[in-house]
Every structure is written in C-alpha cells, then in structure tokens.
C-alpha cells in the first residue's frame, strides 16, 4: 500500500519531467543559437580587458605570447578571462530565466488555484521543470561549451585544480542551482502580497548582476569609502556566480573555501525554508480572499 503510493508519486514526477523535456525540445533552433550567443559578450570582454591590461603592462607585452603582464586586484589577464568563462558556467546553473515572472503570472491570473485542487506541489513542479530544462540545456550546450573552453585553454594559467578543489567547485555549482531556484521562487511568491513584482524582479536582477560577481570579480569592489567588498560577504548573491569561479581559480582556498561552502549550504536551506513559509502563508491569504 505504502510502496505503491511512493511508486505513484515517482511515476507522476517522472511523467512531469518528460513533459518538461519535450516542451523544451520544441524550439530547437532558438535553442542552439541562444547557446552560441551566450559567448559573444565574453568575446568583447576579452578584448576590453586585453586593452585595459595593455595600458597597465610593460609596453609590448600585450601582444607577446604570454599576454600582458600587469595585474589588477590580484588578477592577471589570464585569470580575468578564465574568471569570466567560469562565471558563465556558474550562471548556467544559477540563473532561472522567467521563474519569478512565471510564478507572479500564475498568481495573478489565478492559475495557482490548480495547486489547491490537484494533489501536486507547486514548488516541486517548478523544480522538476527547471531540472529538466537545465538538463536539456546542458545536453545541447555542452558541445559549444567544450569548444570555447578548449580554445580558451591558455587563459587557465594554473591548469586543472586539485581534486578537493574540483569537488568543492562541482558541489558549489549544484548548490548554486538550488540557491538560484529558491531565491527567485521566494521573490515570485511575494506576488501573493504585491501583484506587481516586475520592479522587484528588476532590482533583484540588478543586485545579482553587480553583487554576484557576474559583472566583474568581487575583488574589484572598492573597500573605501564604503566597504562594499566586505559587505558582499554577508549576502547570498556571491554564490550565484563568484564563489564557484573563485574556488576554481584558487582565489578562495583552504579553510576559507570550506567555510564558503558551508555558508552556501546554509543560504540554500534558508531560502528553501523561506519559500515553503511564503507558499503556505501566501496560499492561506489567497484562499482567504477567495482568489
């Protein structure tokens, strides 16, 4: 009896997973083009930083085989480029396009009602859907990713990191997926209280872009007059982009690395819990108002 219940559950999620994958595969051309496009900004960034490093390095070194020899905030030119490439990987895990607005729309047009009627959990549904979408994405994107990293191999001056660092890197990526998911889900769920979350989404996007290290390594943030660099340490955003990349490049090492990982776990649990609370409260409020 109990076992078959679990079996039903599993079948339901599996079916749902398959539907999500199918849905994703329909727009194939969009997909391939979209993936390749992702690397275009990195290309301009390489040239931008190349020019910047050129102006602070020994004359002539910029066009030598070794590249410009200057350093900015402890980042050599190679580090800088490697950083941006790694951030693309972090963001491939942690970014959740359309999640917030999707939830907000469901609340606004009353579609959430179906989760009150059917024995399905909305957050669970969305999570399965995301996993499916991401998997399809990695399936198709792995090839262009491999190509770009192979071509950009020379920027990774220190080569492949040791096993423990690689382990932390991979785990932090998986956690960044969960963190991104629950963080955005929480923002989406706020729409139970404020119908218009577009501006909120925008602020979130802005903050992530700036404080997650997506735009530049957090080391560049000024410590004076306000200690922005120290400030971001207390926020969850850095785990969405900066942390995995910094681990890989050895910018965060030893105890700092393990502490960081532990903090990331705590953030994930916090937002997981918060999203549950918001959902419970939100639904209560929603049905209280009669939809």
């Amino acid at each position: 009896m109990y076992a078959s219940r679990w079996y039903d559950r599993a079948t339901m999620w599996w079916t749902f997973f398959q539907i999500s994958i199918n849905e994703r595969l329909v727009y194939r051309l969009d997909f391939v083009i979209g993936t390749l496009m992702r690397f275009l900004p990195t290309m301009t960034q390489i040239f931008l930083w190349w020019a910047i490093f050129d102006s602070i390095s020994t004359p002539g070194s910029a066009d030598s085989v070794a590249g410009p020899d200057g350093e900015i905030a402890g980042f050599s030119f190679g580090d800088m480029i490697a950083y941006y490439l790694l951030v693309i990987i972090s963001r491939a895990f942690s970014s959740m396009p359309g999640l917030t607005t999707g939830i907000a729309n469901q609340v606004r047009n009353g579609e959430v009602k179906k989760f009150l009627i059917q024995p399905v959990d909305m957050l669970g549904c969305l999570l399965v859907q995301r996993i499916a979408h991401k998997l399809v994405y990695y399936l198709i994107a792995s090839l262009p990713f491999a190509l770009v990293f192979w071509m950009a191999g020379s920027f990774f001056v220190n080569g492949w990191p040791p096993a423990d660092v690689t382990f932390v890197f991979v785990v932090s990526l998986l956690l960044s997926f969960l963190l991104g998911f629950y963080l955005e889900a929480c923002i989406g769920l706020i729409s139970f209280w404020f119908l218009e979350v577009t501006s909120l989404t925008f602020i979130y996007m802005l903050l992530t872009f700036l404080l997650s290290g997506h735009m530049f390594p957090l080391e560049l943030l000024p410590a004076r007059p306000i200690d922005l660099r120290g400030f971001v340490e207390f926020l969850p955003f850095q785990y969405l982009a900066y942390f995995p990349a910094a681990v890989f490049l050895g910018k965060v090492q030893g105890p700092g690395m393990w502490n960081g990982l532990a903090t990331e776990v705590i953030w994930v649990l916090t937002f997981m819990l918060l999203s549950r609370v918001l959902w419970k409260r939100g639904i209560k409020r929603y049905s209280g108002f009669g939809g």
Partner: protein, 311 residues
C-alpha cells in the same frame, strides 16, 4: 489551373456600387504619415500616463542600469587611466563614448524596441493580419505604434554625461580638443545615422521570426549584437580581434554606429579629420542608407512568407 499571378486575366469588373462617384475622390486620399506618427506618440503617452507608477519604475530601472555601467568603468579607471595603450580613450573621452551609447540605445528603446518585439508577437498570434489590412505602408505601421517614453530618460542622462565630460576635456590643458560650431550638428547627424542602422538590424531580426517561428531570442540576440558596439573599436585591433573589427566595421557596421559620433566629440583629433575619419564617416552614412533599403527588402520577403496564424 490558374496561377495566382495570372489573376489579372480576369477582366476588370465594375463595382456597381451606389456611391461609385465618390470612389475616385476616396482613392486619391493619402494618409499623412506625420499625423499617424503623432497619434501613435500621443496614444502611447496617454497609455504611459495611465500607468504612472510603472512609468516611473521604468525610468528608474533604465537609469540604474546606466548608473551601474558607469560604476563599472569608474572602478576600471581606478586601476588604469586609459582603455588601450595610446588609443586616446582616457576617462573623460570614454565617458563621452558611454553617453553616446546611452543616447543611441535609448532612442532605439524608446521608438523601436517594443515595436520590434510586438512585431514578432504579431507574427506568432496572427495579429499582423490587421496591419496588412491598413491602407498605409506596413513597415511604417509596425515600426512606430508604441513609443516607450520612459526609455527616453537614458538619453537625457547620456546628454548630461556628455556635457559634463566635454567640459572637462575642453578645460584640460593637456588635451587639444578641437570643438567647433559644427561638432554638435555633426554629432546629432551621426547619432541619427547610427539609430537608423540599429533600427534596420532590429527590424530585420524581428522579420526573421516569420521563418523561425517563435523568436524568443530576439531580445537576447539584440543584447548580444549590441555588445560589440559598446566599446571603442580600438580594443579589437589585435589578433583575431581584427576579424571582428573588420566584420563589424564593413559588413555589419555596428562599430561605426557608436564610434563615429563619439569620436566627433571625444577624440583629440576632433575637427581635423584624417583620411580614416572620413572613411568611417562615409561608412556611417552609406550604412544608414544601405541598411534601411536592405531592411525594407527583407521585410517584404518576410511578408510574402507570412501565413497568418491558424486558419
């Protein structure tokens, strides 16, 4: 079987309508494109004003994006005093460049972005039908209906930044700026040329959704292609960058779009144009005219393939 284009072989038929006499006069009437555009602009304004909060938030958000961009380069100029060695893009010059980009982007977003997106949407939903019914140029009709006034905020910000840093440059004894009475009209002219190029690229992209089905990536694609024109073209002048430089100067001249007007105001060579400056300027003009013609051609081809959603 009769082919569609043989239709002319059917003899012209009378209409037999009661108000036949009025038709000649009716046929003569041409819509005033200016009036139609002004109505678009006015209607959009009415709409924006009925969602005032949203309008303000939009202004704030686009301004904060610009501010963030500004912040990034403020940080970069803490570490270096120029982008590229001896390229002439010091802090003041670069911020004039940035201001120029903001103005062009803002013009595109104010007048065309929403419309291009809406155009792909119309193709998907079949609402393009209505545009095709109207006795007015279809490309005009779909290019202008929404004016997104909130996005104009960045143009003003760009203008302010340009004025501030131009002033810095003119008072810097080390720089020999050559700012003449012609600099301003030249700047405006090349900004407009650039806007036309970007508009053409955009509408061409949007039109491709007729063949590609749902074109979700239009926005992304736009974001990515504009990535290349956000920086001075000198940064590409090395290694394989030359390929990009060549492509985006001569083939899809988006580098020219931003660089020409910015150079007019920011580069020390200001008033004395060398052969290269003249070349770039002419590319800009030719590109504006050429891309506009090309976009019209693609647009027509696209309409031919349009099959209208659902039967």
């Amino acid at each position: 079987m009769l082919k569609a284009h043989d239709a002319k072989q059917i003899p012209q038929k009378s209409t037999g309508l009661p108000h036949e006499a009025g038709i000649a006069e009716q046929v003569m009437r041409k819509p005033s494109y200016l009036n139609v555009f002004l109505t678009f602009a006015k209607n959009s304004m009415i709409r924006d004003m009925s969602f005032r909060m949203n309008f303000i938030l939009q202004c704030i958000s686009s301004l904060s994006w610009a501010a963030m961009n500004y912040g990034l380069f403020k940080i970069i100029y803490q570490f270096s005093d120029s982008i590229g060695r001896r390229t002439g893009w010091g802090e003041s010059e670069f911020f004039i460049f940035l201001g120029t980009i903001w103005i062009i982007n803002s013009l595109i977003q104010t007048f065309f972005m929403a419309n291009a997106t809406e155009f792909s949407e119309m193709i998907r939903t079949g609402n393009l039908d209505f545009a095709l019914l109207k006795p007015i140029d279809t490309q005009f009709l779909i290019s202008f209906p929404r004016v997104n006034w909130a996005q104009l905020a960045n143009a003003f910000l760009g203008l302010a930044v340009i004025i501030f840093y131009e002033n810095e440059l003119l008072h810097d004894p080390d720089k020999q700026m050559n700012f003449t009475i012609w600099s301003v009209p030249a700047f405006i002219f090349f900004v407009l040329c650039g806007t036309v190029v970007m508009y053409s690229v955009m509408i061409t992209l949007a039109a491709t959704s007729i063949w590609m089905g749902r074109n979700q990536n239009l926005h992304n694609f736009w974001f990515y292609i504009t990535n290349f024109y956000r920086y001075p073209m000198e940064i590409y002048e090395r290694g394989i960058g030359w390929a990009l430089w060549g492509t985006f100067t001569f083939v899809i001249p988006i580098l020219v779009v931003s660089n020409v007007p910015a150079r007019v105001l920011a580069q020390p060579m200001g008033g004395h144009w060398g052969i290269w400056d003249w070349t770039l300027a002419s590319i800009s003009v030719v590109a504006a005219a050429g891309s506009l013609v090309a976009s019209r051609w693609v647009f027509r081809m696209a309409l031919k393939s349009y099959r209208s959603a659902s039967s």
